[in-house]
């Protein structure tokens, strides 16, 4: 069903506009995929084909996994992103609950502080974070990748906004049912805010999976590198100078994100239908 009924012309126009936009967004990815399965001579040919004349996909991807610890990078990425997201939830959910539903002095001031924190770009904090981690002797460790991100102003803000929409009477009913604040968070707030948590999850995952800036600053050992940093290290490698394997490597690190997004999208829709109960 369309909210506005469009004529045939309108439909065609809409289709064209959407296709052009999609093409712009997808072209780099298609190019990347296409290059990742071509041989080096073919890549440097003057004319461009999406599909290769001779298929070099196996070779390129084999080179990636053989010459670079790509699996290790992916694993690091999963580990670091999962740890960051878990700890963020552990910190942000109680904060958001308190800011949304508890009455205490200074609550509004604290919330303003969160809003201000939202405006500060993370790069601004990189030097203080680096110094702190240095004194804690955590530079060049997983801890250095995870600890600076455990408080997310965006997460607190998003969840607090969502928690505010949950009616107070529901929380009062839960109190009468005998739930403690922790029970209320675990049994009422979290299940009811699945869509918000999922969107926060996507945000957190994407930004830390793709983060190059921070790992580049705090890591020295290649075996701790996350995928984005891994690509950089791979490029410095002998085989990494060739575009075919390099594109194969990039395709490899993008794939898990796309997969995760597709899965979370399903969860999104489920969450939204659960929540449409009045």
């Amino acid at each position: 069903m369309t909210p506005l009924s469009l004529g045939t012309k309108g439909k065609v126009l809409r289709c064209v506009i959407l296709s052009v936009t999609a093409l712009f967004a997808l072209l780099p990815f298609m190019w990347m995929l296409s290059l990742s399965i071509k041989t080096t001579p073919e890549i440097y040919q003057a004319h461009f084909h999406i599909l290769p004349e001779s298929f070099a996909g196996f070779d390129n991807y084999r080179v990636v996994f053989a010459s670079a610890p790509m699996l290790r990078f992916l694993l690091n990425g999963v580990l670091v992103c999962a740890a960051i997201f878990m700890v963020q939830l552990l910190v942000c959910i109680p904060c958001a609950y308190a800011l949304a539903k508890l009455r205490f002095r200074g609550r509004d001031t604290l919330f303003s502080a969160v809003l201000i924190a939202l405006l500060i770009p993370p790069q601004v904090l990189s030097i203080p974070h680096f110094v702190l981690l240095y004194y804690a002797q955590l530079i060049d460790s997983y801890g250095a990748l995870i600890l600076p991100w455990i408080f997310s102003a965006f997460g607190v803000f998003l969840l607090r906004q969502f928690f505010s929409t949950i009616p107070d009477e529901l929380i009062q009913a839960a109190q009468l049912d005998g739930m403690s604040e922790a029970d209320i968070i675990w049994r009422v707030m979290i299940p009811m805010s699945a869509p918000a948590i999922a969107s926060f999850g996507i945000f957190s995952l994407v930004s830390h999976w793709n983060d190059l800036f921070w790992p580049l600053i705090v890591l020295r050992r290649a075996e701790l590198a996350t995928p984005a940093l891994g690509i950089l290290l791979f490029r410095d490698d002998e085989t990494g100078r060739q575009f075919g394997p390099l594109m194969a490597a990039t395709a490899t690190i993008v794939a898990p994100l796309i997969l995760a997004f597709l899965l979370a999208q399903r969860r999104f829709i489920d969450g939204l239908t659960i929540h449409s109960v009045k």
């Binding site: 009477e169 529901l170 009062q172 009913a173 009468l176 675990w186 659960i274 449409s276 109960v277």
Partner: protein, 373 residues
């Protein structure tokens, strides 16, 4: 079973005083209704009894025990909310068993995932489930146990909310306008079901409504509240026939009681009605007034409109001398009064209720004072 004693409760939100020195005692097993206009503090008082909100002053005793320091869980009080407040993500069964789960299972047994394998969890869960199913069958929601609240009708949600309150067999039931979201027919049906439930379980009920008909038909006693004050607490009949306050008299009964300012009445009538000096308003019920010929009456006016409602006819009479409009209830056998005819109105002195300038009732003991000069 439990009595509730409320002593001098005060509650303020910022600068506005929401409850002003409210004192009330509810007997064991009584059905007490709190009635009053929107925003007068009914829900606030309920929340204070439940322990969801702390009063700024005053004492609260439930079952002869001071509960000021008890958390809601410890008070043995169940509440049905206006919005039902069912957990939307849980099934009806899970909604109903929640209070039992939170009480009977230890924290370890409730622990996510691992709790299921703690010793005793399964046995207790089985018992809880059996009790919930019994409550569900009393309320007729057994076929709905596997559904989510979003898949229920208003009346069914209402029953589930009742079930969640009933299942732990509380000593005190608090109900905050539980019927206000239902249509008129279902409301009447649920009214009698709640009354039957009260007889059956014999717990103390405090029931909030702003519908005076609901209050009058359901309760042992009615507490009328206005702007944070309790105006009168009495049995429904007494509230109707012997109100302490003009605002109570005006709220109870339909059509509204007729209130005539004394300064608009002639001296003869004041004598006949035995109005004392401090009386500011004389009031009488529509059924206690009789329409007479203009010459025979001390109160005169013209008919403004006649409303025919089947058995009853309500005649609106605009009184002479700027004394306002009154309503008189007659039955359909009495002669018709067309708009514009001059009529007299006669009310016996014993039917007249007298109120002073502060809207308080002038009781007969004070009525012996000097008559209006």
């Amino acid at each position: 079973m439990a009595t509730i004693e409320i002593l001098g409760i005060e509650k303020r939100y910022g600068d506005t005083s929401v409850l002003k020195n409210v004192s009330l005692s509810v007997e064991d097993g009584e059905f007490l209704t709190l009635v009053g206009p929107s925003g007068c503090g009914k829900s606030t008082l309920l929340r204070i009894i439940a322990g969801l909100e702390a009063p700024d002053a005053g004492a609260l005793r439930i079952a002869d025990r001071d509960v000021a320091k008890d958390r809601p869980k410890q008070r043995n009080v169940a509440m049905v909310f206006q919005s039902y407040a069912l957990y939307p993500h849980l099934t009806v069964l899970d909604n109903i068993v929640m209070p039992l789960r939170m009480r009977r299972l230890t924290a370890a047994q409730r622990f996510p995932l691992l709790g299921r394998w703690m010793p005793g969890t399964r046995r207790i869960e089985r018992e809880i489930r059996a009790e919930a199913e019994q409550v569900a069958s009393i309320l007729g929601v057994e076929p709905l146990l596997a559904r989510k609240p979003g898949q229920l009708s208003g009346g069914q949600r209402q029953r589930v909310a009742l079930g969640r309150a009933m299942v732990r067999q509380p000593a005190v039931f608090l109900m905050d306008e539980p019927l206000s979201n239902l249509d008129a027919k279902l409301r009447v049906q649920m009214r009698s079901e709640i009354m039957a439930l009260h007889r059956q379980i014999g717990a103390t009920f405090v029931y909030v409504t702003h519908d005076q008909a609901e209050a009058m038909t359901m309760s042992d006693r009615v507490a009328v509240m206005m702007e944070g004050e309790l105006l009168q607490v009495a049995a429904p009949e007494q509230l109707y026939s012997d109100p302490d306050d003009l605002r109570v008299a005006e709220m109870i009964g339909s059509p509204q009681i007729n209130a005539v300012p004394v300064h608009a009445l002639n001296r003869q009538l004041c004598l006949a009605w035995q109005l004392s000096q401090d009386t500011a308003v004389a009031a009488f019920r529509p059924e206690n007034a009789i329409i007479t010929r203009p010459a025979d009456a001390m109160l005169n006016g013209t008919v403004a409109v006649s409303e025919h409602l089947g058995a009853d006819v309500f005649v609106h009479v605009r009184l002479d001398g700027d004394a306002g409009t009154i309503v008189i209830r007659t039955d359909r056998t009495s002669p018709r009064h067309t708009a514009g005819t001059a009529v007299g109105v006669s009310v016996e002195g014993r039917h007249v209720l007298r109120f002073d300038a502060k809207k308080k009732r002038c009781r007969p003991s004070q009525d012996h004072g000097a008559l209006v000069a």
